[in-house]
């Protein structure tokens, strides 16, 4: 049975909505396949607006990996803005993919990539528009498997009622394995229906199917245990790790949108994983070990990706790009290759040291020099020891001043507020540091024309990190400290004028905290918020703190807990955490020890350069650190004939 496009109905509505181009598809790199010529069909969703979702690397990689399979079809769907959502409901137009405008409900799998928990309400909107029952328990053979991935899926408990399954970790191989299971089940005539399919997925031991697990609670509200409710599913579900990134050089054909998006560049992941051990950083904890892509593969990807897409910007991405074992040769080699072109190269810079400036200098050889960013994360040396971001005040100021004396005029500094054990003084030191940076910078640059921007957001404790036990500060505390900091920066008018101040309020962070460390009971809050109109919670103009508070107050007391219980409460060592049955490879005892080390301000080295400190990941996941150097260099590009006409 073929599935027809909903575009004729959708097109009628497009003149009445903002930015209609985001709904038409047709991007360079988009793939449209014959529905009937394929056997397994995926709808991949990034549950945010198109402009944010389209550049997402994870979706682009899986889209390409799946579409390379002859009998597999993958299309993309994004959240529609409330203006179109209302018109679609009114006119009976379902949630659609942008590639061929097929209804999402017709696919075998709806795979959602959650980079942040604030996308949960958008998932409910999409399910509702698609005509898929919101609750997993209400779905039958006619509905897609709703599958969650992305970093937030390391604790999918708050959305356990709404999803059918979750994949933890890297998706490249997981999507192929899931495809294989579905292909086989369909070929056999769908024996046992939906339940049997979910069971087959669960038996892989790396796909979590929440319905096969029961959660029991203690009288005081804590979790007693999470156990399988049938004998044939595993007690613990493990994350996936894609090894040998050179074997997975995706995206090869990056999507080039017609609409404006937040990033318009070819992004190449130069390595995955990070062992710097910043205690607040969930990405660094759950993506271990470090796996580098070799300098030559990166060079090849950049060349082919640019040729395919025509992008004029390349981002060399990772969690700490300056740490790549061949980053120096990579940057100088690429800078050389693209010296006389309009291609600009960029490196996200979070490391606070002079080497980062050398690299930035290399990459801006063609004269285009944008701002430099450093992320000290904590204002005082003490708090930086607590979070294991090892940089002294002197190093930090010296590094920033070096940037100014090398010609940079604009430097951004990233911080967090509300870190464990933080005091007012820790935050106020940011103002001192910023003043010192401007004072020394003016002297070194010989001009008053320099600026620095202090950007600060609220800290959110995340699962699978040493701070998973930590109490959050209240939004009142965060907002008070941010106000104090702002006043302190402006206390010296001459210096304060050169310092920009950007901050995020404490309220959205608290809700993100509820969602990131929540359990299945929080799902009822999410549903209630969505019913009250909650959408696009990552957008300040759509986020409503009052709505979340109201919903939490309606739902949580029935379970004997409240918002504070999930957010500002410190957990004890013996407490069963909602995600304990989901295995990121990190040894819980090691995490606890690291939490204790944090309290005593004891720093932890990086196992990339120092001996293993037994975090547990490599032995339990059967993985290893994969780093260079390979000793290879990037060769000059052979001049290509500019005029290349496709046959």
């Amino acid at each position: 049975m073929s599935v027809s496009s909903v575009f004729p109905q959708l097109e009628q509505l497009l003149p009445r909505v903002s930015k209609p181009i985001q709904y038409v598809g047709g991007e360079l790199g988009a793939v449209v396949k014959d529905w009937d010529a394929t056997t397994v069909r995926w709808a991949l969703m990034y549950p945010d607006a198109y402009e944010v979702g389209l550049p997402n690397q994870g979706v682009q990689i899986l889209y390409e990996v799946l579409n390379e399979q002859e009998d597999v079809l993958a299309e993309r769907t994004y959240s529609v803005w409330p203006d179109l959502e209302a018109l679609m409901k009114e006119n009976g137009v379902p949630q659609f993919t942008v590639d061929a405008h097929r209804p999402v409900k017709a696919f075998d799998v709806l795979g959602l990539s959650f980079a942040t928990e604030l996308g949960y309400t958008n998932m409910l909107s999409a399910l509702d528009l698609a005509g898929i029952p919101l609750h997993s328990a209400d779905r039958d053979e006619n509905h897609p498997i709703v599958l969650a991935g992305g970093h937030a899926s390391f604790n999918p408990e708050p959305i356990a009622d709404f999803i059918d399954a979750a994949v933890l970790g890297d998706g490249e191989e997981a999507v192929l394995e899931i495809t294989g299971i579905i292909r086989e089940w369909k070929a056999e005539g769908r024996p046992g229906g939906r339940d049997e399919l979910l069971l087959r997925l669960a038996r892989t031991e790396s796909i979590y199917v929440p319905r096969f697990y029961d959660v029991d609670y203690l009288p005081d509200g804590r979790i007693q245990r999470v156990v399988p409710n049938r004998p044939d599913v595993p007690f613990r579900v493990s994350k996936r790790t894609t090894m040998d990134l050179d074997a997975w050089p995706y995206p090869k054909k990056p999507l080039v949108p017609l609409a404006e998006t937040v990033h318009e560049r070819y992004a190449v992941e130069i390595f995955r994983g990070c062992t710097r051990g910043c205690r607040f950083c969930q990405a660094g904890m759950i993506t271990r070990p470090v796996r580098e892509r070799s300098i030559t593969t990166v060079g090849q990807m950049v060349k082919e990706g640019l040729e395919f897409s025509g992008y004029s910007e390349v981002g060399l991405l990772s969690l700490s790009s300056a740490d790549h074992s061949e980053i120096g040769d990579m940057c100088s080699g690429l800078a050389e290759q693209y010296a006389d072109t309009n291609v600009s190269l960029s490196l996200p810079s979070t490391r606070v040291d002079a080497f980062n400036i050398d690299l930035a200098q290399e990459l801006s050889r063609n004269g285009r020099r944008t701002g430099l960013t450093f992320a000290p994360e904590g204002g005082s040396e003490r708090i930086r020891k607590v979070i294991n971001k090892m940089v002294t005040k002197e190093d930090l100021i010296r590094t920033v001043v070096t940037a100014y004396s090398n010609g940079w005029r604009q430097v951004k500094l990233y911080f967090m507020c509300g870190l464990p054990s933080e005091t007012d003084e820790d935050v106020l030191e940011i103002a001192e540091m910023a003043h010192e940076v401007i004072r020394a910078g003016r002297e070194a640059a010989g001009t008053k024309d320099i600026r620095c921007t202090v950007s600060i957001g609220g800290f959110v404790p995340k699962p699978h990190t040493p701070f998973q036990w930590a109490p959050m500060d209240t939004p009142e505390t965060i907002d008070r400290r941010l106000k104090m900091l702002k006043n302190a920066i402006n206390s010296d008018r001459g210096l304060g004028r050169a310092i920009g101040f950007r901050y995020h309020d404490g309220e959205p962070s608290l809700i993100e905290g509820l969602l990131s460390r929540g359990d299945r009971r929080v799902g009822k809050v999410i549903l209630r918020v969505w019913e009250k109109g909650g959408r696009f919670d990552g957008w300040s103009e759509h986020f409503s703190y009052a709505r979340w508070i109201e919903a939490a107050d309606e739902v949580l007391p029935g379970f004997g807990v409240d918002l504070d219980w999930f957010t500002t409460r410190e957990r004890e060592e013996q407490e069963v955490l909602p995600w304990d049955h989901l295995d990121s490879g990190l040894d819980k005892d090691w995490l606890w020890q690291d939490w204790q080390d944090s309290k005593s301000e004891f720093e932890q080295d990086d196992c990339r350069w120092t001996p293993c400190f037994d975090c547990g990941v490599c032995p339990s996941m059967d993985t290893e650190i994969q780093i260079g150097p390979t000793g290879k260099k990037l060769l000059p590009l052979t001049p290509v004939n500019n005029l290349r006409v496709p046959a």
Binding site: Q12, L14, P15, R16, P20, I21, G25, G26, E27, L28, A30, L258, G310, N342, R368, N642, L643, R644, V645, P646
Partner: protein, 210 residues
């Protein structure tokens, strides 16, 4: 393609669009100029651009530009307005009322806020096509089709402004959003026809197959 870039801190590709159609309408006649760093065969450029663009965005022809700018050769557009659900006779009455007025004031939101302007002055032709060859899906539904020629004036008068004018003078309210397509752009001749802006450059260069 060896596309030329502007100077400055963030160089932009040298592409200029001459009176681009508004969002939400179809077009069979958009024109743009591209600056190149080196001579390129016009047909080869057409093929390469067409291959890179989305389905539905078709590059029909490329010529090497002679002196003068493209914008100077475009002062009018011809549009087809399909009004599903509107009887041709009803549309004809509205069009007659519109043409019979010396001025038809309409309002539109612009970047500067709500503006009121005359939609009549720019219209040089507005006719209801008599025997429309209807799209097959609309067999049972009446569908008036309006043939419209509008001069470029400031502020620009767009097809939706003319539709607003038909509402103002005759209360014409199409039940579903009309489908609007630009059919041609170019210089308005004395006979009221539109001359193809590429004509002047066609003599000595290879011409793309149409």
């Amino acid at each position: 393609m060896p596309i030329a870039f502007s100077q400055g801190f963030t160089p932009h590709p040298k592409i200029s669009y001459a009176s681009a159609a508004p969002t939400g309408v179809g077009s069979e006649a958009e024109y743009l100029e591209i600056g190149l760093q080196a001579p390129v065969d016009a047909e080869a450029l057409r093929v390469a651009l067409d291959a890179a663009l989305s389905p539905g965005l078709d590059v029909l022809e490329a010529v090497i530009a002679g002196p003068g700018s493209l914008a100077d050769r475009i002062d009018a557009s011809r549009w087809r307005l399909e009004l599903p659900g509107v009887e041709p006779e009803v549309a004809e009455k509205a069009v007659a009322a519109f043409l019979g007025s010396s001025e038809v004031l309409v309002e539109r939101m612009t970047k500067q806020g709500r503006r009121s302007f005359d939609a009549r002055v720019a219209v040089t032709r507005c006719e209801v096509a008599d025997a429309p060859d209807l799209p097959s899906e609309a067999v049972a539904v009446p569908c008036a089709i309006i043939d419209l020629v509008v001069r470029q004036v400031t502020p620009a008068v767009r097809p939706d402004d003319v539709l607003s004018g038909l509402r103002v003078v005759a209360g014409l309210e199409p039940p579903v959003p009309p489908r609007v397509t630009r059919l041609a752009q170019g210089t308005l001749t004395a006979q009221g026809e539109i001359a193809d802006p590429l004509d002047a450059d066609r003599e000595d260069v290879s011409i793309g197959e149409r």
